[in-house]
């Protein structure tokens, strides 16, 4: 078996388990060991993946939820194994539950983007790119056929699709045509490279002399995206040669964890002042100056904006009895956003 296949399968198992159990840790697995056994039995057979499609699994083995729990407490009887074979196993769209019925049909499309950026010691932007996902949450009756098109598909550097997406329309017209699975799923992921700027700047300064090192980190808005930037945090790991650190900030809180990680959570940038953090490091005895420098990891979140500039043009639905509700959202957060000092 190719190693990547094994890794990918394990990731899929982890996804399914955390989807079923609402988290993945030792306790949760112990508490639901029967379901875990049953799921694994369905997912792999003789070392080869069997059924990994979450929709089919969900029909075969019921997800534990409040109702079933209450029921099992009251009646003392809990069967979570389906009595019949899910219809989707035989259909040509194995990802779709057979014929769901909804009173009000609705479909939500979210653009979730992560910005990866590297800023080098000179403050120059070495690399800035967006890794984005189109997440769809569909609650549609019957077997709908959706078409999603972008206003500016040319900015996409590369794409990957959910198996439900038909390749031909994309190849010819860059249109996403698909029969959606039921519920939440990742329709497509994309990459936009070579962006020119970041929404915020982080400027660290370290000057060391005579066994101590002065630190000063400034954070501010560089390119206003038009929406508020919130949950900004700056994290960095102290180099091993630092004995102690004393840090204060004029906005937000600074924590130094036991594993020598400092985290400065800023939240939103206030209008009146630029947040800054400053302090001193005491170096190891005998060391005059700092020769290794930490890398600052920045995280933030911007609601309502896709920083890559990707825009959804329109979403057409066919094969539906009544007009559904369509919703669009966008979100950008920091991925691997690094500032070297």
């Amino acid at each position: 078996m190719p190693p990547l296949m094994a890794i990918e399968f394990l990731c899929r198992v982890a996804d399914v388990l955390s989807d079923y159990l609402g988290g993945l840790n030792e306790d949760v697995i112990k508490d639901n060991f029967v379901i875990v056994y049953e799921l694994l039995d369905e997912m792999i057979d003789n070392g080869f993946p069997l059924t990994t499609e979450p929709n089919i699994l969900r029909e075969m083995i019921a997800q534990p939820n409040i109702v079933s729990k209450v029921l099992s407490v009251v009646t003392g009887n809990s069967s979570n194994v389906s009595e019949t074979l899910p219809g989707a196993t035989a259909s040509c769209v194995p990802w779709r539950t057979s014929e769901p019925k909804y009173a009000n049909n609705e479909v939500y499309v979210d653009l979730v983007e992560e910005m990866d950026a590297t800023i080098n010691r000179d403050g120059a932007l070495v690399k800035c790119e967006i890794y984005g996902e189109v997440q769809v949450n569909s609650h549609l009756s019957g077997l709908p056929d959706l078409t999603l098109s972008f206003a500016n598909p040319s900015i996409l550097d590369d794409v990957r699709f959910h198996p439900c997406v038909r390749f031909r329309p994309w190849e010819s017209h860059q249109i996403l045509s698909f029969v959606p699975p039921d519920g939440q799923f990742k329709l497509m992921s994309y990459r936009v490279k070579k962006l020119k700027s970041t929404p915020i700047y982080v400027k660290p300064q370290l000057t060391s002399d005579a066994g101590t090192c002065r630190v000063n980190v400034m954070v501010g808005i560089r390119n206003d995206p038009g929406k508020t930037i919130d949950s900004i945090t700056v994290q960095f790991k102290l180099p091993p040669c630092i004995l102690s650190a004393d840090l204060t900030s004029n906005h937000g809180t600074v924590n130094i964890l036991t594993n020598k990680t400092c985290s400065w959570s800023i939240g939103r940038i206030p209008k009146d002042k630029a947040p800054s953090m400053s302090g001193t490091f005491v170096l190891e005895t005998g060391l005059e100056r700092l020769h290794v420098f930490p890398t600052f990891q920045v995280s933030f979140r911007i609601m309502g904006v896709a920083l890559s500039g990707l825009q959804i043009d329109k979403l057409d639905l066919k094969n539906l009895p009544n007009r559904p509700y369509k919703g669009f959202r966008a979100l950008t957060r920091a991925g691997e956003f690094e500032v070297r000092s």
Partner: protein, 974 residues
């Protein structure tokens, strides 16, 4: 900060988890044995049974052995509740192998369930039944699988496909053909889901039975995008192997660069420039300006690509061993083994159907599809795989590592592919150390003139990384980069020298190991750069020598001192500084570390040997002083070295007062001096480029990650090893087709490599003569030939020559193909004169003498010494002579080169056999071709060689039906 709050949060989370646990099976896990399980199992309520089974599972999960409940659990197989069934199956499969007899009790229920109207029940029953791996029930399972393979439900058919490998694992020879037949049926299925599972079964059962693929090749390609992702991965591999076996490699692909080394070298170079031209004009212009450099890099590129393709086909172990052994250079792939990607429809359709898979959300599928394009796509289209591969880098650390390992190979063989995307290999602080080193390696192999400044800027940042091991690797990468791009050498040297000066400060107190590593690596990089062009870097050497006093790390000092010795006669300034340096070294000798001491000794001798004029006297004095110190050293290595040097230079040192000139000029007078000159003075002329020792395995395979052949690894099949059946597209490939429609033997000799040895030829010749009359039947041998030619040819092949010509031909085919791989083979032939006894119930056959010829090939035993038995039995009725062999530990009495093999003959027929003899094939080939009826005498055997290849065994004169006879034969393996 707020401990009281933290405490509340903790209790809160505890409380909430308590709430969440209500209704789950947590209480069963915590205390599985708080009630008596046995009566629950026998309960008539399903819910109680269910609870009991859950408790058992909880015990299994905690590592207890609860197999003693087996009989009670097995009884519950008959339940109607699906949940109980499922739990019973889980338990059953866990313990079935431990309690085979009780497991048999469940078989009836399974068989009943197989007829259930509910497809889920049928599928589960089949899965569980196949999961009980017992030989006794294998035929029952086979029947069940066969039935389910024709089930109306897709899910059941899929389960049937999944059950096949389990059945095959039992290794029951008599079922093999039936299993393969079912695989064929399932591959032919209409549903993509079934095809995916069938592909997996095919890959594990009969990966080289291409006739199953051949029938449906086109349909399989078309269905590929709809197959579920796991099946896609396997199916892509199968289709790739098939196309190569059928049509060979594509001549526009990278794998074809072997031929372009001969004819189209410039073309290939142009290609590389063209590709880079599009994205990156700087590199192209650099190419033009420095034609020589570009040519060199182009060559390496080609050589590597060539190696890659050879490794893919032969497996690196065979390929590399042949390279080192024969040293004749790689044998050529024949033109006939290539096909044109433009005109071949099968290749085109494969590429077409795999290219959308590069967009798959499953990384493994993307990598598999990229592998196909890498091997099969025309060179200008290989670019297509770059972006999808780079996209995969945005995933978990484990898969990132796997992807990078594969990219590394692609980038080495074709740097221009990834050169424009160098930014993607910049390092993130969240990368693991292994990923960082891989990225550095890739960066240094793809960097171009235009990108180098960006890359160096990045490297400067990396050197300040807190992870010093990584910083040291970065320094090494700088050295590699400047070797790739010689113009950058000066810049690199400046940076590295600055670094060495900087690092002294911190390594002064030497507390950190990491700093020492960086320093050593920096000096090593400098050394490797200087080595390329010593005269132009004289100043750097002097600077390093000056810094000797401040460098404290022994290994780094040793390298600098080595440079003193090596470049002592270089330029003008260095020789002038030598006496000071040597005095300094002598002065510090006692306080040095071991490696530095040894290096000082070497260097002083080297300096002395190269020195001229009046310096020699002072150098000799220094050497004498140091030798005296060294002879009293605490370390025996240093003492030995000193004594050795004194001995070898004794004349040189003793003649202190005399004229040195005569000494040097009269070599015969002083042999030792010449010797020492050779040992130390041998100025290494720019050493030839190191033999490339990379191992390449198929992209995406486990072996490529661990860099040795993992169990189950199979290289690509031999190109064009699958004989063509002339079908519709006759016109497309006129020339090749003409070749192939020739009689089979010309093709055979064509594809044989140059290193074919004598025996191979004679071997082939003899077979040819045997089958002389049958040769015209060259077109109907498809099945058997392909079977004989699979890669897993057994160690010993025995075939019945007399019975069927096809079979024998197949063996000859594989035998000679193997000879191409240097494996020396010895063919043994045994002639068995099987004569129906006339004293038996004599009927019409009485007068007819039935002759059957048997041929035993003994393959290469170095790789796989496994005892297996192959029989000469007639597969249809189980009649015939059964021959088993095993390697015996007995030592030959005749010659130490001979290996003893114990051979066991058993007569399984109903008639007695007589005059059974096993002997060397070559020796009797004359008689062989002359008449096929008789057993040849072994008179000519010893004349062949001094050591006999096969010491003839004692003849078995008579073997009763059912009787067994054992003989030892002694063989000579090359």
């Amino acid at each position: 900060m707020f401990p009281q709050f933290g405490a509340t949060a903790e209790t809160l989370s505890k409380a909430s988890s308590m709430v969440f646990r209500i209704g789950t099976d947590a209480h069963l896990y915590d205390d599985p044995e708080d009630v008596n399980i046995a009566p629950l199992l026998d309960s008539k309520f399903d819910s109680e049974k269910c609870e009991a089974l859950k408790r058992l599972l909880a015990l299994i999960a905690q590592g207890f052995d609860v197999s003693n409940f087996f009989p009670q659990v097995v009884k519950n197989v008959a339940t109607q509740s699906l949940e109980v069934k499922k739990l019973v199956y889980l338990y059953l499969l866990h313990y079935a192998e431990k309690r085979p007899n009780e497991a048999l009790l469940s078989i009836n229920c399974f068989q009943k369930d197989l007829g259930d109207p509910n497809a889920l029940v049928r599928a589960w029953a089949l899965r569980a039944m196949a999961g009980i791996r017992l030989h006794v029930i294998s035929s029952l399972v086979l029947v069940a699988v066969g039935k389910c393979a024709r089930d109306p439900s897709v899910y059941v058919r899929k389960s049937a496909a999944n059950a096949l490998p389990k059945l095959y694992d039992l290794r029951l020879e008599e079922h093999t053909s039936a299993i393969e037949e079912i695989v064929g049926i399932l591959l032919n299925d209409q549903s993509p889901g079934v095809v995916g599972a069938a592909a997996a079964a095919f890959a594990s059962i009969c990966p080289s039975n291409f006739s199953l693929i051949e029938r449906n090749y086109r349909r399989l390609c078309e269905i590929l995008p709809d197959v579920e992702e796991w099946g896609q991965i396997i199916l892509i591999g199968i289709l790739l192997r098939f196309v190569i076996a059928r049509h060979g490699l594509v001549e526009e692909s990278i794998m074809f660069s072997l031929r372009s080394t001969k004819s189209g070298k410039s073309e290939k170079n142009g290609e590389a420039t063209k590709i880079s031209n599009k994205e990156d004009t700087g590199y192209a212009s650099g190419n033009d300006d420095f034609g020589l450099g570009a040519d060199v890099s182009g060559n390496i590129d080609l050589e590597l690509a060539n190696m890659v393709s050879r490794c893919y086909i032969e497996g690196p172990d065979e390929y590399l061993s042949r390279l080192s052994y024969a040293n004749t250079g790689p044998s050529e792939l024949n033109v006939a083994q290539f096909t044109s990607g433009k005109s071949n429809d099968d290749v085109k359709i494969l590429l077409q159907c795999t290219s959308p898979l590069l967009w798959s959300h499953n990384s493994a599928v993307v990598l598999a599809a990229a592998g196909v394009h890498w091997i099969m796509a025309p060179r200008e289209n290989v670019k297509k795989i770059v972006k999808p591969l780079l996209f995969l880098l945005r995933s978990s650390n484990a898969s990132k590592y796997v992807v990078l390992c594969n990219i590394q190979v692609f980038a080495k063989a074709m740097p221009s592919l990834f050169a424009p995307h160098f930014e993607d290999f910049f390092i993130c602080s969240s990368d693991s150390y292994q990923i960082k080193t891989l990225k550095l390696e890739i960066l240094s192999s793809i960097v171009t003139e235009s990108a180098i400044s960006f890359v160096f800027k990045e490297f400067q940042d990396y050197i300040r990384d807190p992870d010093r091991r990584f910083a040291a690797d970065t320094v090494a990468a700088i050295g590699l980069c400047s070797q790739r791009l010689p113009d950058m050498a000066t810049t690199c040297l400046e940076g590295l020298l600055a670094l060495t000066r900087q690092e002294f400060l911190s390594s002064d107190f030497g507390s950190v190991d990491g700093e020492a590593g960086v320093l050593i690596q920096a000096i090593m990089s400098i050394q490797s750069i200087i080595k390329q062009d010593p005269p132009s870097h004289e100043k750097v050497i002097i600077q390093l020598i000056r810094s000797l006093d401040s460098v404290k790390v022994p290994a780094a000092r040793a390298i600098i001192i080595w440079m003193v010795g090596e470049y002592s006669s270089l330029g003008e300034t260095i020789p002038r500084t030598l006496s000071t340096v040597l005095k300094y070294l002598a002065w510090h000798f006692t306080s040095e570390a071991l490696e530095t001491k040894l290096q000082i000794l070497n260097s002083i001798v080297k300096v002395l040997l190269c020195a001229e004029g009046q310096d020699i006297q002072s150098f000799k004095r220094v050497l004498n002083y140091v030798l005296e110190l060294a002879e009293c050293d605490l370390n025996y290595d240093v003492r030995d070295r000193a004594r050795f040097l004194r001995k070898i230079l004794s004349s040189n040192l003793d003649y202190q007062g005399l004229e040195e000139e005569t000494n040097i000029l009269s070599p015969n007078k002083d042999l030792a001096y010449v010797l020492s000159g050779h040992i130390f003075g041998g100025q290494t002329k720019s050493s030839p480029p190191e033999p490339i020792n990379y191992r390449f395995y198929l992209p995406g395979s486990l072996s490529q990650i661990v860099l040795h052949a993992a169990p189950g690894y199979e290289p690509l099949p031999k190109p064009c090893s699958l004989p063509r059946v002339d079908n519709v597209d006759q016109g497309t490939n006129g020339l090749e087709r003409a070749r192939n429609s020739d009689s089979f033997d010309t093709d055979e000799t064509d594809s044989l490599s140059g290193s074919l040895d004598e025996e191979g030829a004679s071997d082939y010749g003899s077979e040819h003569s045997i089958s002389g009359s049958n040769v015209s039947g060259g077109s109907n041998e498809t099945g058997s030939a392909s079977e004989g030619d699979d890669n897993t040819d057994p160690l010993i092949q025995i075939s019945d020559v007399g019975n069927a010509f096809e079979n024998q031909h197949g063996v000859s085919h594989s035998g000679s193909a193997d000879l191409g791989e240097l494996i020396s083979k010895r063919a043994l032939e045994s002639w068995l004169d099987d004569q129906p006894n006339s004293s038996n119930t004599s009927t019409s056959e009485q007068s007819q003498v039935r002759v059957s010829t048997a041929r035993i090939f003994i393959g290469d035993i170095r790789h796989r010494v496994k005892t297996k038995s192959y029989t000469l039995l007639d597969p249809a009725n189980g009649n015939g002579l059964k021959v088993d062999y095993s390697f015996s530990s007995e030592v030959s009495t005749i010659s130490p080169h001979l290996v003893s093999v114990e051979i066991c003959f058993k007569n399984c027929s109903s008639e007695p056999m007589s005059d059974i003899l096993l002997e060397d094939e070559e020796s009797n080939k004359d008689s062989n071709s002359a008449d096929q009826t008789l057993v040849a005498t072994d008179s000519s055997l010893t004349s062949h060689n001094n050591v006999p290849i096969l010491v003839p065994m004692e003849e078995i004169t008579y073997l009763e039906p059912g009787q067994t006879a054992k003989r030892i034969i002694q063989l000579y393996f090359h």
